[in-house]
Symmetry: C3
């Protein structure tokens, strides 16, 4: 099966496609990073929409999502945005846990595996 | 390849099947949640057995498992139950790390990817 | 699709192959464990090279990588080794977060999914 990579730097690719399975990197919010977990989540989910569209998929085809929160107190703010964004009936398998992220300004990081 | 979802809420699906690959959500213990990591692990693994059975798989077909412990002091209690549960010769690739979970009463969360 | 397991103990397999997809366990450094995150990363990546070679793959075929750091202060030391190791143009989708690991001497744990 072919492997296709997009937005590839020395360190990582943002998108890797293997056959019918799409692996995205852990996505954090773009600069300037909001101090609000909800705003960061919205920005992250917009980026996921764009990346999936580039490889012929969309948010209704997400299989699995991992959500890392720098502090679990962000849980409700993240979920308010997440729950609106997920297409009804197409929610992925999901895990959400607390981990400090690469920079303290990041409150949310989301990684998904999707179907083409 | 088809995508099949089960136990789907607004927020997540507990089971997503893509072709021959099964993605489960991060599973925590049912209410009332025991204070003991071993009992939580036993309940989680029973749920994983049930979810896998629903889609024609079982614990001998697990490919990868992620185990999050709210506190690494639960490591031995979780492993005592895990080691008994895993079928001999069929243990999955596994990673176990410490992360605070969605609610403080949860000590263990387990997510698996399995083969149909 | 067939499932092939290698280096299988009671608790986990280091390598699981499902069709064209390879799941490795979360890999930590071998004993004696260096106190330096860079040296641990180098040892881990050598182990990943060996495991992938055993099943007919290599570091240019990695799809997704999860990196757990016991302390995010190890980020630069880990990345210095990682960036040299990744083949140019073939970097995987990657997420790097902070989690305490099974033993305090472990500073880095890396898990990959790769294509055969």
């Amino acid at each position: 099966m072919t492997v296709e990579r997009r937005h590839t730097s020395r360190r990582m690719s943002q998108v890797v496609v293997h056959g019918d399975t799409i692996y995205l990197a852990g996505i954090v919010s773009d600069e300037p990073v909001s101090e609000h977990a909800g705003a960061q989540t919205r920005n992250i989910l917009e980026k996921i929409d764009r990346y999936l569209a580039e490889v012929g998929s969309d948010r209704s085809r997400i299989l699995s999502a991992t959500i890392w929160l720098a502090d679990m107190t962000c849980f409700d703010a993240m979920n308010a945005v997440w729950d609106e964004w997920v297409p009804e009936g197409s929610a992925p398998a999901r895990a959400c846990v607390e981990s400090r992220l690469a920079h303290p300004r990041y409150l949310v990081e989301i990684r998904v595996i999707a179907a083409r």
